[in-house]
């Protein structure tokens, strides 16, 4: 199923209707055959949008990920937490095809991949942000966000140079959609600034905008709030929640700040030394002894995000 076009159709029909999310996304027939039962309690009715099966990845002698199973249901905010070096970013890199796992498979919407095709990621309806800023510094904020729609451009350079064919419509369309996302994330005031000149917190938000403009079905956020002040963090958290509600996007979120994570996510997976040591609702994770030992034991220090 062409996910991207599906998501777009949805955007056109009922742009800002939360009921789209409530209705849920249609499940594909294959995905039920996968037979992964989500560990969590909320959404065993729907088939997972994303599933990881026995993912293993090592760098030289370092085991970054070992036998990871994970399922993410449509519409949920799925947090991944764990100490530094636990393998969280590696996991996102596997899901987005930046890394090829040594073992295991990624199932996106029921389709099995050994390595997710990065070049087609946007077409598959997946968008991501990076732990270290990955904006295009030499482009304006608006152009950065519009570039999130580059995967849909079908006009060629000659048409664009001469301003003929479908290039005009595409250009107008992507700029106006980028403008809408900027408004949604309260970035309109800086739309013409060069992205590289913005303060760190705003750059993080522009990166979220660039990922969101494609209205992805699956949004992967690698520490979107790292290095932010408390008020910036809560602002960002509300943006993530609003994005989920508005675009019916499923979110995988890596975040160190346990307070933010507990409040924001539906289910939490906890990684430690590349292994998944817990996977449950926030309340259950909070009281899990292994999690407390590995990670939350120092919860009071962790409020600001350990070792960022």
């Amino acid at each position: 199923m062409p996910l991207a076009s599906y998501a777009l159709g949805m955007m056109d029909a009922s742009v800002y209707a939360p009921e789209v999310f409530a209705r849920g996304l249609p499940s594909t027939p294959q995905s039920s055959a996968v037979g992964i039962v989500p560990a969590g309690s909320i959404a065993d009715a729907a088939a997972p949008l994303l599933a990881l099966q026995g993912i293993g990845l090592s760098f030289g002698g370092v085991v970054a990920l070992a036998d990871i199973e994970l399922s993410v249901n449509p519409g949920e905010i799925r947090a991944i937490i764990g100490p530094n070096g636990a393998g969280k970013s590696s996991l996102i890199n596997v899901i987005s095809g930046v890394y090829r796992p040594d073992r295991g498979h990624v199932l996106l919407d029921g389709v099995r991949y050994g390595q997710v095709p990065t070049q087609r990621l946007a077409h598959l309806g997946v968008a991501r942000t990076f732990q270290n800023l990955a904006l295009f510094k030499g482009l304006s904020v608006l152009d950065n966000v519009a570039s999130g729609l580059a995967y849909k451009v079908r006009s060629n350079f000659a048409g664009q140079v001469l301003g003929i064919g479908r290039s005009r419509g595409e250009q107008r369309d992507s700029l106006s959609r980028a403008g809408q996302i900027l408004e949604f994330l309260d970035l309109t005031a800086v739309r013409d600034r060069l992205a590289g000149t913005l303060p760190y917190g705003l750059q993080k938000r522009v990166e979220l905008a660039r990922a969101l403009v494609a209205e992805p079905r699956l949004l992967l956020l690698d520490e979107p709030m790292a290095g932010m002040t408390a008020s910036e963090k809560s602002e960002m958290a509300s943006f993530v929640r609003a994005a989920r509600d508005r675009f019916a996007t499923t979110v995988v979120l890596i975040e160190h700040d346990v307070g933010v994570v507990m409040g924001l996510s539906d289910r939490i997976a906890v990684l430690d030394y590349g292994r998944k040591i817990a996977d449950a609702t926030p309340d259950e994770v909070r009281n899990d002894q292994r999690v407390i030992d590995a990670y939350l034991g120092v919860a009071s220090d962790n409020e600001d995000g350990a070792g960022i």
């Binding site: 742009v15 930046v98 904006l135 570039s147 664009q160 140079v161």
Partner: protein
């Protein structure tokens, strides 16, 4: 849901097209009337050819971030291709030869751009040297390219567009000016299009560009093709309008570096910058030789001139890299803002 755009800025700004249009009006309407043949032959013609080559390289290096040391090879490819199309294809108008020459240069650019799919930065720069050496070797080795002329030096064909002969200094100037203006305008349109944004995205963060679905390999090769097309046409202007001879020697590694210096001094990722840089590179040796001759008299012969040129130019590039990495364009914009500000506050 229409996004409200406010284009109102605090100071009244002239529309962007005013300056280029005035400049063109001056270049077409006034310069041909008042210019001496020295101005055309020694300054404006090389300035136009090198400026256009700078525009071409800037698309590849400044915008798309792919360093190249092969510019002179693409100029040579363009010049020789145009010469041979003109010689061997009967009834082909000059403009046709030039467009075909650009396409030949673009094809060679794609071939030598292939390493960019694997190599970056310094390693890529070294691999583009292959283009430089290969093209020069091929043009010297196979005398077919120079129509079996004994010296390897051949006269360029006479210039004419639509039956209008453009042989004199002014004619060749207008010929070059027209081609350069058209290609520069198209280049400007390109860099502000989605494709131009893709170039910058790949330059600034290749992984992120790939993730959001920009076809990275295709876009890189496109940058090589377009850049080489423009540089190839610049080579035609260099040989046909400026030198009026076609020879491989003028397109050596020195020329490649000269074009690289033009965009560094003028300003990377700026169309205007290429012309700023070209102006400096062309005018500077002339000024230096006048100054040297004035101060030192006969001691300042061509050997000394050549050496002092290299030294001063080298120093200039280092100065620019340290003090003004964004080039003459940034300097110019800053001065203009100051002046505007001073003028407004009076």
């Amino acid at each position: 849901m229409a996004a409200i755009t406010s284009d109102l800025t605090s100071a009244p700004v002239l529309p962007k097209w005013i300056a280029p249009v005035l400049l063109l009006a001056f270049a077409y309407g006034v310069v041909p009337l008042i210019g001496s043949s020295y101005l055309f032959e020694a300054i404006l013609l090389p300035f136009l050819a090198l400026g256009l080559a700078g525009v071409g390289l800037n698309i590849l290096t400044g915008y798309a971030g792919q360093v190249s040391l092969g510019s002179a090879a693409f100029m040579a490819a363009g010049a020789f291709a145009a010469y041979n199309f003109n010689l061997r294809v009967e009834g082909l108008p000059l403009i046709g030869s030039i467009v075909l020459a650009g396409i030949v240069a673009a094809a060679i650019g794609i071939v030598f751009g292939l390493p960019s799919l694997r190599l970056k930065g310094f390693y890529l720069a070294v691999s583009t040297l292959a283009a430089q050496f290969f093209v020069q070797w091929a043009l010297t080795k196979f005398s077919w390219f120079s129509n079996n002329s004994a010296s390897g030096v051949i006269d360029a064909p006479r210039l004419s567009i639509g039956g209008l002969a453009l042989d004199g200094a002014v004619g060749r100037y207008l010929f070059a000016l027209t081609i350069v203006s058209i290609l520069t305008f198209l280049a400007y349109r390109l860099v502000s299009s989605q494709t131009g944004r893709n170039f910058i995205a790949i330059r600034d963060n290749e992984t992120a560009a790939r993730i959001i679905g920009i076809p990275v390999l295709k876009t890189k090769l496109l940058a090589f093709a377009i850049s080489s097309f423009i540089i190839g046409v610049a080579g035609v202007i260099w040989a046909f309008a400026y030198l009026r001879t076609v020879e491989p020697d003028g397109f050596d590694l020195d020329r490649s570096f000269q074009i690289l210096f033009i965009i560094i001094i003028g300003g990377l990722a700026s169309i205007r910058g290429a012309f700023f840089g070209a102006a400096l590179i062309v005018v500077f040796p002339l000024g230096l030789s006048r100054l040297g001759g004035f101060l030192l008299g006969d001691v300042f012969d061509s050997g000394v001139l050549d050496m002092s040129q290299r030294i001063v130019l080298g120093a200039l590039i280092i100065l620019f890299l340290i003090l003004e990495p964004d080039g003459l364009v940034a300097l110019w914009d800053r001065i203009r803002r100051r002046l505007l500000f001073a003028w407004q506050s009076t």
